[in-house]
Amino acid sequence: MKNKFIFGFLSIAIGLLIALGPLTIFPVCGVHEHSEEVMKCFWTARAELGVGFSISILGLLSIISGNPKFRLGLAVAILLNGILAFLFPAVLIGVCGSARMNCRALTLPALSILSSLIVIASIIQAAYLRYTNKEGTEEHGKQTAND
């Protein structure tokens, strides 16, 4: 029961940080100062907004849900979203070209750390749920045979 709340609240918190961080705490550059061109990192922030909220909602569902198998599915979904949150700034969309620009120096490492944390947490959660489900099923099976 405890792990359901810990993982759920952790997912909500990290999801919100992934979604809103690139717009507030560790902001991306957005629009180029001279050319006024919309930069790559702007689209990364948009994509993270979607994937971050998705992680938060899945985390909330994980708290509400009482079914361990459903929560296992949610943990896998959060894991996949976490991978996407990592890939958007690193590979799929990217950030700006200069090492000293905010999105590369601040947003990229922040998103990498947050997405890695949620990926690790969801792997642990999924493994834990899988292990406890298996144990429960085996015990249940034995009992039925004895009966």
Partner: protein, 406 residues
Amino acid sequence: MESKPLTTRRLSVYNLRSNPFRTASLVFVVLLLAFATFGGSLLSQSLKNGLGSLKERLGADLAVVPLDHEADYEGIILSGQPEKFYFDQSIEQQIEQVEGVSKVSSQFFISTLAAACCSVPVQVIGFDPDTDFVIQPWIAKVYHEEIGDGQIIAGSDIVLNDTGTLKFFDDTYKVAAQLERTSTGMDYSVYANMNTIKMLVAGAREAGMNLSVDVYGTDVDRSVSTVLVKIEKGYDADTVTTNIRRQISGISIVKSQNVFASTANNMDVLLAFINTITLVLWLLAILVLAVMFSAMTNGRKKELALLRSVGAARGKICGIVLTESLLISILGGTLGTVAASLIIFPFSTYTREKLGLPYLLPNVAVTLRLLGMSLLLSFASGPFAATYSAVKGSKAEAYISIREGE
């Protein structure tokens, strides 16, 4: 149910598990201690490395620049802030004749915008390979051939295209090598010989990009941005500076030792602050741990007395308290160093930008040494703070402790 022997370690683990909030609080105190120790030592070492790197980078004893451009030159050296200023090339020959001057080499600066989107202006530094004594020693560390026309050397923080090229003003230039990190403006600059600089300027003119390269009014063949001077042995910087000033007007002179000294002074203040904070946090953590362990042992008087009454030796009681403190220290110390690593390493560029000082992370061997020392200090902090409580708890008379409060 399977019975397990009640060893010291098992007893300690059960005790820690029985009060998760208390355990978490103690772990958090050690976490802070480890974070401050490892983070503080990494930060201090990085600043010291940065200062050492700056000393090497300065290379020349004096830099002669156009009048009132000392601060711009220092900006290029310290932070790679793109600047452009020019004076007549003949000044180089004049300086060469001055008494006390051993070597001179000129450089040509232009600031540019990479043609691709999402970049900031880059400082391009043109140098003369025949006379240069400042840039080439750094290049030689990573590239052992002569830099050809159309080739460039990129600083460590210049992000290259996938093809290992950089595009300036619609022209693509091959990056022959990328320099090692120096923690100075060198990391954000691009280097090329003078022929490549001329190609670059021509490219800018063709592309009509005069906004970022203000060289229309400058004759690239007859202009330089700075003349770097190496002083002859037996002369000091002040004497040679006076000699140059006597013979040439309309110039400013930047003394490398002054740039280094002012950076070192700024850094000393910061280092003193970091060291004081680390020490204060460490002392506070030890004090808090000692108080908490003392309160814990007092609260567990009866439990410890019962263990004594069923045959546990004083050493065993002492061992239980110390093992608990060690387990807490191991957990807190590990988490603290991981947290410090997650902040110091990925955000090093950002830290450097915000500090505005040379900042160079230590190599793997030094990092591991600092990590080892921090872990050792953190692991020792718990047992150190708990020793008094452990000895006191083990010395208490079992009968008195059990009857206490009746």
